[in-house]
């Protein structure tokens, strides 16, 4: 018995080599992912001259907060930030309500026609009317240049309905629902008082998925909004980061060379500022990711 246990735990030389190679490769991958992120953080608070000449390669050099100062002086960025906060909160609230309204009835075994309804939803994952008919629809509904164009056409995701429905089916015992029904709970009451309080982990995952999607999206804003005052942060970021339009950013009082220098620092700083909320939420929600995705994976 003892002998066998030893045989089980003893590693062969091949296994030790494997272990070594595996750890080394993973560490290389880790560095490749982490380095660009650290670089951006350091560059955002370093003297732009040091960054551009390649003297700053990991830790901040000659620390300055000029990039952040320029950002907070800029009305468009601040306005975009506020718009994005509005679109994200409103959009995510609508998403959650709609997902729950769809997932709860579909999770019930006694609902007649649930497969037909589910098929109706799932089909839209694989086939869509395309850009122009959707655009014309939003236009005809009078939603162009309004908040609604950003939150209503994306009111719910089929994938998330599936995840939540599976959670309701697998993680909440049928007995609890039956007991509530015998006690005379209506379906609404049951959902609010029994099901949802037991569903906090999945609600956390959904909140994360939906709010990150709203926070990061720019496509709907690009096609549905023309009014600059309503632009979300990502569209402003696009001008700064991708199209290099920063004329008004650095202020005309600065010399030309300074403007170019600031432009670089502003880019780094704006990346940090834009991702701050997501990065701050991240550690709190991370433990739920695997759970959420695993539930989705079970059903596929």
């Amino acid at each position: 018995m003892v002998k066998r246990a030893a045989a089980v735990t003893r590693q062969t030389r091949g296994d030790r080599v494997f272990e070594w190679v595996n750890y080394t490769l993973l560490t290389i991958i880790l560095l490749m992912i982490i380095y660009p992120l650290l670089f951006v953080i350091s560059a955002s608070i370093s003297n732009p001259q040091e960054v551009n000449s390649g003297n700053m390669w990991l830790l901040p050099k000659d620390i300055t907060f000029i990039g952040y100062q320029k950002i907070f002086q800029n009305k468009e960025i601040l306005n975009g930030y506020l718009n994005t906060i509005l679109y994200t909160t409103l959009g995510t609230s609508i998403n959650l309500v709609m997902t729950i309204l769809a997932a709860f009835p579909l999770s019930r075994r006694d609902l007649a026609g649930k497969n037909v309804i589910m098929a109706l939803f799932v089909f839209t994952m694989f086939f869509s009317g395309g850009l122009i008919p959707s655009y014309l629809l939003v236009k005809n509904l009078g939603m162009l240049n309004t908040v609604w164009a950003l939150v209503i056409p994306t009111a719910v995701s089929v994938w998330n309905i599936i995840i939540m429905r599976t959670f309701f089916q697998q993680s909440i015992p049928v007995e609890i629902q039956e007991a509530a029904a015998i006690d005379g709970s209506s379906d609404f009451h049951m959902l609010l008082k029994v099901i949802l309080p037991l569903s906090m982990p999945i609600l956390a995952v959904m909140t994360l998925f939906y709010s990150v999607a709203h926070w990061n999206s720019y496509f709907n804003a690009l096609i549905y909004l023309t009014d600059r005052d309503r632009f979300p942060l990502q569209l402003i970021l696009r001008e700064i980061l991708v199209q290099n339009q920063m004329d008004q950013m650095s202020g005309s009082a600065d010399a030309m060379t300074d403007q170019i220098l600031y432009a670089q620092t502003i880019k780094y700083a704006v990346i940090i500022v834009a991702n701050l909320p997501v990065l701050m939420l991240y550690p709190f929600l991370q433990k739920y990711f695997t759970k959420g995705i695993m539930i989705g994976a079970v059903k596929g």
Binding site: L111, L120, L237, L241, N275
Partner: protein, 314 residues
């Protein structure tokens, strides 16, 4: 018991259905807003694809505009950019499938072998992180790092005496940068699903194999990979169905007038001709062509997978 006449059974059945529906009427009320949403925002636009077979006249609306048959499709197939668009869209899709699909699987298998709990968690935390960067930020980072004058990549190239490469404006670099930055951003996140599948593998299989003297490599090959094969197949089918569905968002941001030759794909073309040039009917036709091909691809791959006796979507 003697069988009841058909009319009676069908009556009974209808009665039972009605009773089942009535009993749960509150659930249908809950579902109503969602069903209305899907009809209005998904099925109505599908009805709108008829625009591709019409000449759109704004005052007459979609259903009032005159039919023109396959005119827009013919124009698209005959145009000189048709092959370029198809080549780029397919090229990026296949490149992504070939590189972006296996890497998360390998990563998951590697992470799964890390016994050290803290390091295991740490690797997962770090590799998931880039997934949360927005596309705009990612493309911004690409352009910063690859800038010919100040980008760190070119600074390193110059340090070793090389000539700086204009990564962002040279067409031959476009697809590689597109796919590799996607791998960088999503490999961790995409590996979660395989890690989840791996955690579902019965540990007794590993113990038995260990007793029989199987090495780590052999156990990965003969236990872990077959164990996650169903998951791999499902995701492969989904991926294959979107080979021509290269997303608009990132390509559009990475596109510039100099790399157009290899960066112009169907979705960006639809945007340009539809939204910028307001050729609604033509753009709808091109978009429809793309959706139909994608749908056919999905069904075909699913059919082959089912025939091969493996897992399939339906």
């Amino acid at each position: 018991m003697k069988a009841l006449p058909a009319s009676v059974t069908s009556n009974l059945k209808r009665h039972r259905v009605r009773k089942a529906v009535l009993k749960n009427w509150r659930l249908y009320v809950m579902l109503a807003p969602v069903i209305i949403y899907f009809i209005v925002f998904h099925y109505l636009p599908m009805y709108g694809v008829q625009l591709g077979f019409k000449d759109f006249i704004a005052t007459k609306g979609i259903s009032g505009s005159p039919w023109v048959g396959f005119k827009h499709f013919e124009r698209f197939f005959d145009s000189y950019y048709f092959w370029r668009l198809l080549k780029n869209t397919l090229g990026i899709g296949l490149y992504e499938l070939a590189v972006g699909f296996p890497i998360p699987i390998i990563l998951a298998l590697m992470i799964n072998e890390v016994r050290h709990k803290f390091y295991n968690r740490f690797i997962q935390t770090v590799t998931y992180m880039p997934h949360f960067l927005s596309t705009v930020v990612l493309v911004g980072m690409i352009s910063i790092f690859l800038s010919p004058e100040t980008g760190i990549v070119n600074l390193v190239i110059k340090l070793f005496g090389g000539e700086p490469i204009r990564f962002l404006t040279e067409p031959e670099w476009f697809k590689t940068i597109f796919v590799m930055s996607g791998v960088w951003q999503h490999m961790g996140w995409s590996s979660i699903i395989y890690l989840a599948a791996l955690s579902g593998i019965d540990p007794q299989l590993h113990e038995a194999a260990r007793v029989d003297g199987a090495s780590r490599m052999q156990r990965i090959w003969h236990i872990n990979i077959p164990g996650i094969m169903p998951t791999i197949m499902i995701l492969l089918i989904l991926k294959a169905g979107s080979i021509l569905g290269v997303g608009f968002e990132k390509v559009f941001l990475m596109q510039n007038s100099l790399n157009m030759e290899s960066s112009d794909v169907i979705s960006t073309f639809v945007y340009r001709s539809g939204m910028l040039d307001a050729q609604y009917s033509f753009a709808t036709a091109v978009d429809l062509f793309n959706s139909v091909i994608n749908f056919i691809l999905l069904i075909t791959v699913n059919f082959i997978a089912r025939r091969a006796g493996g897992n399939s979507l339906w």
